[in-house]
Symmetry: C2
């Protein structure tokens, strides 16, 4: 049984446009985050927004983000300023009978907050494990873990899921009554991400088997 | 022949991390933008960044973004403040022999600038056409175009591709020499987006044929 508390929107995280699409189930928020590979991290640098794709991982109600210690956005985010982190899945193109009602089906999680730089060695390893497993399930145990130099080169941030919102659109187009008789196809073209054939590193020995964790992976 | 001028990075749009991944070909920038369905628009609201998924379309070196006239981010972006608009494609998961060298193959376009609210009726129609065609090729001509009320409810912004950067990662992992002999599979698991079976609107007549522009669409 999932006993996660519901999302409690603040003024900033309240979904205003299309409020009927807002969800308040924390389990659903987790599922949307867990299904993603990258989010888009927004920070303010010299008064301007900067939005960059960023890998992440989740442990409970904490998101871990990482990047090079040299990255300006990560340095800014680590300095205790507000950030926004958004994960979006596009699930389908909604074809309507009017241009105006064309839309997308999607799931979108938006997290506002102040990120905390993770310095505790134990939490750093747990955070990097979450990040690695989000990107490549099974890889943390199967590959060489970070050494001291690699850890020193990696900035790890924690962002709590306290101020988060979730917006989901599903279903057919919302055409106007007046357009329903138009001889135009309307409906949804679903989209999904699939994996292709694994491409071995050229430096692998010939015929090195692809492990099941990679071969059978869905995304 | 493509005579587009190369990208001329400013301080803000110069790729600093992983500079070997920076591209300066404007044609390649256009291709990355044209291949996307949503970008992530960043604006600063009350001192905090807000990042939301946003549909777009391109005409030449102008991106058009739209949304409800009631959306706070769109209103902010229309007020002449700096925005950032980022389009990312994740092309593969890069499995390395060490956790540290795990990565993603991706294409990412980042556009900085001040958006302009489009008020000229002719440009508004061209911009909405570009947006509709990006989402649903062929739909602008095939469906009812916006009437006066719908146009009044739609905020349309133009963002010039003057200050843009493009970053691309391709290829196998960049493992350390010391790890190459490890008995660990390394390589790339390619990812791509595919379309599923069209799902007709329940209000369509039975057996309404799916037009080729939708049935045969790739993304």
């Amino acid at each position: 049984m999932d006993t996660a508390p519901p999302l409690s929107p603040t003024a900033r995280s309240t979904v205003r446009r299309g409020a009927e699409r807002a969800r308040t189930d924390r389990t659903e928020l987790h599922a949307v985050l867990d299904a993603g590979l990258v989010g888009h991290l927004g920070v303010v640098l010299d008064g301007s927004p900067v939005v960059l794709p960023t890998g992440y991982g989740r442990r409970g109600d904490t998101l871990y983000l990482h990047g090079s210690t040299g990255a300006a956005t990560l340095r800014a985010a680590a300095a205790g300023v507000p950030v926004c982190f958004t994960v979006t899945h596009v699930d389908g193109v909604v074809y309507a009978r009017s241009a105006f009602h064309h839309s997308m089906n999607y799931r979108c999680a938006v997290v506002h907050g102040v990120a905390r730089r993770v310095t505790d060695p134990g939490e750093r390893l747990l955070g990097l494990e979450a990040l690695t497993e989000q990107l490549a399930p099974g890889s943390w145990a199967a590959t060489r873990q970070p050494d001291r130099r690699e850890l020193a080169a990696t900035a790890l941030l924690a962002l709590d899921l306290t101020e988060a919102s979730l917006k989901v659109r599903t279903g057919p187009p919302g055409d106007d009554e007046r357009d329903l008789a138009a001889p135009v196809w309307a409906g949804v073209l679903p989209l999904r991400t699939v994996v292709g054939e694994p491409e071995p590193c050229p430096l692998l020995p010939d015929g090195a088997p692809v492990p099941a964790r990679i071969r059978d992976r869905g995304v």
